[in-house]
């Protein structure tokens, strides 16, 4: 009896450990380099011209004029160039073997960290656009999708775990509106078939998870008292949703319409969830004060709309309106093509809304870092932060700018002047030579549904 009691408790501990696993801490390379004489766009503070930036073992250790490099540290002259924090893309599906487990409206149990594909050439393309970090997300087919994973674009490593950004906040994908309705209601004739159903799915999921917790608490009480009881069913799905309810997993919710955005804030209040990050949010401008009051954040397209009915009522001023109402806003790509020039996407907020340079660049640096819970690590050029730096030949918001170098943890991952034609990591021996394209190296944009 005693042995069984001990064994059951060990199993319970193992289950708790597994369900709250934050990903494996693989050792990844770190570099040291002195970048001399560049124009630093720190984002968190003033721009610093003709200033040096020192990275030692992957961390920014000094910013100033006339810095010297310790022995053995490479010195790179970047005078005349513009240095900014590595760009952070808060919504991406680059580098994934699967995007949508679209067979159930709730799949909170699935983890994007399990399906990272480090061979996707789009990582290299993103590095060529100065993007060092992305939020690899589950698609928007399900009301409650899977757990996302923040990754660094350490292209060149074969092990998927080498791309995991250790210590990043746990996040989960939710999706409202037409996508889950179409996939499940119309496609499989299951709930949700309307926006009412979408809300119900979320509330049901939360209620069932809380009920599940009660069963387990009762079971643990019996076991702790030294008695034996039939164990309840263990569920990865309910464990993940409890993580959401406990505030351990942040909701990143795909949404377009103002009514559904407002709906989710009301649901969150009912369940004491105080952090929400909305994705796309095309009608966010209609509920900007409400979003700000809740403390919700928004990650938006610069100017995509009209590709389906729920996205008709949109404006290119959305980014600016949200920002100026106090909503922490980022601009994302949700595209393996747009990720290559996110700096130009952000710049559209200057054309539509006249955000200043700093506010504009925050849209693709510090703001998405805050939304991903990694602002203490990246998003600005500050001493103590990771040595993630993107270097341009002109100001990043200039239409003439060209990204030249991209560093992650002080290691150079992109160099425009050492850019071999074939950067694929794996060679398919039997691929037809006349189809010399990356046929199998990445997934298309349509997989995530938008």
């Amino acid at each position: 009896m005693k042995m069984t009691y001990i064994k059951i408790n060990l199993i319970l501990l193992l289950l708790i450990a597994v369900s709250s696993l934050s990903w494996s801490q693989m050792e990844t390379p770190v570099g040291s380099i002195l970048l001399k004489g560049g124009n630093l766009i720190t984002v968190s503070g003033e721009d610093l011209y003709e200033t040096d930036l020192l990275i030692i073992d992957g961390i920014i250790t000094d910013i100033g004029e006339g810095l010297s490099a310790p022995e053995g540290v490479e010195i790179k002259d970047v005078s005349g160039k513009y240095l900014m924090p590595g760009i952070v893309d808060a919504h991406s599906h680059v580098g994934l073997d699967a995007v949508n487990e679209m067979t159930n409206p709730i799949t909170a149990e699935v983890r994007i960290a399990d399906v990272i594909n480090p061979y996707d050439i789009a990582f290299y393309h993103a590095l060529a656009g100065g993007v060092t970090v992305s939020h690899a997300m589950h698609g928007s087919a399900n009301v409650i999708g899977g757990q996302n994973q923040t990754i660094k674009h350490r292209y060149g490593h074969h092990h998927p775990d080498a791309l995991i950004m250790d210590g990043a906040a746990r996040t989960i994908k939710f999706a409202l509106g037409e996508n889950p309705i179409r996939v499940h209601g119309e496609g499989f004739t299951t709930i949700p078939n309307t926006r009412m159903g979408v809300e119900k799915v979320i509330r049901n999921a939360f209620d069932e998870a809380l009920e599940y917790r009660k069963h387990w608490e009762k079971f643990r009480a019996v076991v702790d008292a030294g008695e034996s009881a039939l164990p309840p069913q263990y569920s990865e799905r309910h464990e993940a949703i409890l993580g959401v309810l406990d505030g351990k997993i942040l909701i990143h919710c795909h949404s377009y319409r103002s009514d559904e955005i407002y709906m989710l804030m009301n649901v969150a209040r009912d369940y004491d969830i105080d952090q929400l990050i909305f994705q796309h949010v095309n009608e966010g401008f209609k509920v900007a004060p409400e979003l700000a009051e809740f403390g919700a954040m928004a990650s938006v397209f610069s100017d995509w709309w009209s590709f389906k009915f729920e996205v008709y009522y949109s404006t290119a001023y959305n980014t600016t309106i949200l920002s100026q109402n106090g909503v922490i806003t980022s601009v994302n790509s949700d595209s393996r093509e747009l990720i290559r020039h996110l700096y130009l996407e952000a710049a559209k907020a200057q054309r539509y809304g006249q955000l200043d340079d700093n506010e504009t660049l925050r849209l693709i640096t510090l703001n998405p870092a805050i939304q991903l819970g990694i602002e203490d690590r990246v998003g600005s050029l500050e001493v103590g932060k990771d040595g993630d730096v993107a270097i341009f030949n002109a100001h990043p918001l200039s239409i003439y700018t060209i990204p030249e170098y991209t560093f992650i943890d002080g290691v150079k991952y992109f160099d425009r002047y050492e850019d071999p034609d074939d950067m694929r990591m794996v060679i398919d021996i039997e691929e037809d030579l006349n189809h010399f394209m990356e046929l199998k190296s990445g997934r298309g944009d349509h997989d995530c549904l938008h």
């Binding site: 069984t4 399990d114 990865e236 060679i427 030579l433």
Partner: protein, 478 residues
């Protein structure tokens, strides 16, 4: 006194003389009882185990057992004799992983398609069937048996076809099915699993497959512990209803059975290893063809492999002095991948493809050749790490098995090492080394006789002996 034989007596005598013993038998149908199953092989060149020298000797097989080995032994009168002069004898080869003869699962998929919402799919409909057994499904016909025998194989570990968890493997002797199941050597070996999903049912992607594994194993563990507590003291405990799937997973969770994971590629390997580490399972990585050195170095030290025996085609090479020399010898054996569509391959186009410069073309061929060599040297690398158990033959055509084994001679293997991968190593892994894998007195008589050393090109099987039963493939004996 009359010396007259009673007619009735005469009739009875004549009947016994010409009845051929039919009156005695408890045998079925028209079957003639076998007078003797003894086999005597004379003057055969035998390699008893990998590493042993070839020796000329005689063997006596009785009741399916190798009874005597020695150059002095004589054939009993009852024995059928085989002239082994010029023949090479080995322990029959063991195919450690195959689907040979098992029916395609597509029919099963169509028949049992789930009509409800995909998220409500019962696991059995989604290809999660750890309880499946193939003992009754085994159906190698005589042609199938012959084609395997002619490659030197006398034993086979079959695993079920299917999707995520296909069921348990079974070890068979390669002969036609017997009603008494005497062709079954080990009824349940381990669980076979792979990263293959059915469309439109949960789990449809590796995402959900990982979650299903976690749920299933965690719940199995809970139920196992509870059921053991009931065995210890059942009083006052609610009854536990364990379904067949969970029951089939009990030995897996207890690590009494391993999981043979079909993982051709890097990322599939890593997912399997992740599950094994998280859920404390024993896994063997099978059918591996892509494994980067940087990933191999992160795997647990004691992890073992059955890499894929099917080889890619050699990339087209530019004519160089080196490649000309290779052609002068004999080109390495090549084979198309089993998954490639069967179509007439156009003659190799040596011109540079559209949009590519000559320099780029040359670089591409170099990188392909490097990748080819890496692929071909993978097995030797695993061998040197003591991680090689044998070879997966899941994706290798039967007709190519021996040829592909011989190719290993060019990629870091000696003949003895190949033999070990076909006999002793596999037998030890499956726990049947006490009865087969080497040619020793007392072991079961599963033997193969080639007309020359099996590693020589064009060596062919002349005889196969399974359970002491002789199968002849000698041309002039047909």
């Amino acid at each position: 006194m009359h010396n007259k034989i009673n007619p009735i007596t005469l009739i009875l005598i004549l009947f016994f003389c010409f009845s051929n013993g039919k009156i005695k038998a408890q045998f079925s149908g028209d079957e003639m009882p076998i007078i003797s199953t003894d086999l005597f092989i004379s003057n055969v060149t035998m390699k008893s185990h990998p590493g042993a020298d070839y020796e000329k000797t005689n063997l006596l097989i009785q009741n399916g057992i190798i009874n005597q080995i020695g150059s002095e032994i004589k054939a009993p009168a009852s024995a059928k004799t085989i002239d082994g002069e010029g023949l090479h004898l080995y322990s029959a080869f063991i195919n450690p992983l195959s689907h040979e003869g098992l029916k395609d699962e597509e029919d099963d998929v169509r028949r049992s398609a789930w009509r409800g919402a995909p998220g409500t799919t019962p696991l059995s409909h989604a290809g999660i069937n750890p309880q499946n057994s193939i003992i009754d499904e085994f159906d190698l016909n005589s042609r199938g048996v012959e084609s395997l025998h002619k490659q030197g194989f006398g034993l086979i570990h079959l695993v079920p076809r299917g999707f995520v968890m296909t069921g348990k493997g079974t070890f068979f002797l390669i002969k036609e099915k017997e009603d008494d199941n005497s062709h079954v050597l080990v009824s349940e070996t381990g669980l076979f699993a792979q990263w293959r999903n059915m469309a439109r049912v949960y789990p449809a992607t590796p995402l959900a497959t990982m979650a299903v594994w976690r749920d299933l194993i965690n719940n199995t563990r809970l139920q196992l512990e509870y059921s053991e507590s009931i065995k210890q003291s059942p009083e006052g405990k609610a009854r536990l209803n364990v379904n067949n799937q969970t029951l089939a997973l009990f030995p897996v969770v207890k690590k009494e059975q391993v999981i043979y994971f079909n993982v051709p590629e890097n990322r599939q390997i890593l997912r399997a290893v992740r599950l094994a580490e998280e859920l404390d399972l024993d896994i063997i990585l099978t059918n591996v063809s892509q494994l980067d050195a940087s990933i191999l170095s992160t795997l647990p030290e004691n992890i073992q492999f059955f890499p894929d025996l099917s080889w890619p085609e050699h990339p087209h090479e530019e004519k160089t002095e080196k490649s000309e020399k290779v052609e002068e010898k004999e080109r390495p054996n090549r084979r198309k991948r089993r998954t490639a569509e069967k179509q007439e391959k156009p003659e190799e186009d040596k011109s540079v493809p559209v949009g590519m410069t000559e320099e780029e073309h040359k670089k591409l061929l170099e990188s392909r050749t490097k990748e080819y060599e890496r692929r071909m040297n993978l097995a030797a690398e695993l061998k040197n790490r003591n991680a090689l158990l044998g070879f997966s033959m899941l994706d290798t055509k039967t007709a190519d098995l021996l040829k592909n084994c011989r190719t290993l001679l060019e990629f870091g293997f000696t003949a003895d090492e190949i033999l070990a991968a076909l006999t002793t190593d596999v037998a030890t892994h499956f726990g049947i080394d006490a009865i087969t894998g080497t040619v020793n007195e007392g072991k079961q008589a599963h033997l193969v006789l080639f007309d020359k050393s099996f590693t020589e090109d064009k060596a062919t099987v002349q005889y196969m002996i399974i359970d002491g039963k002789l199968f002849s493939y000698k041309k002039d004996e047909k």
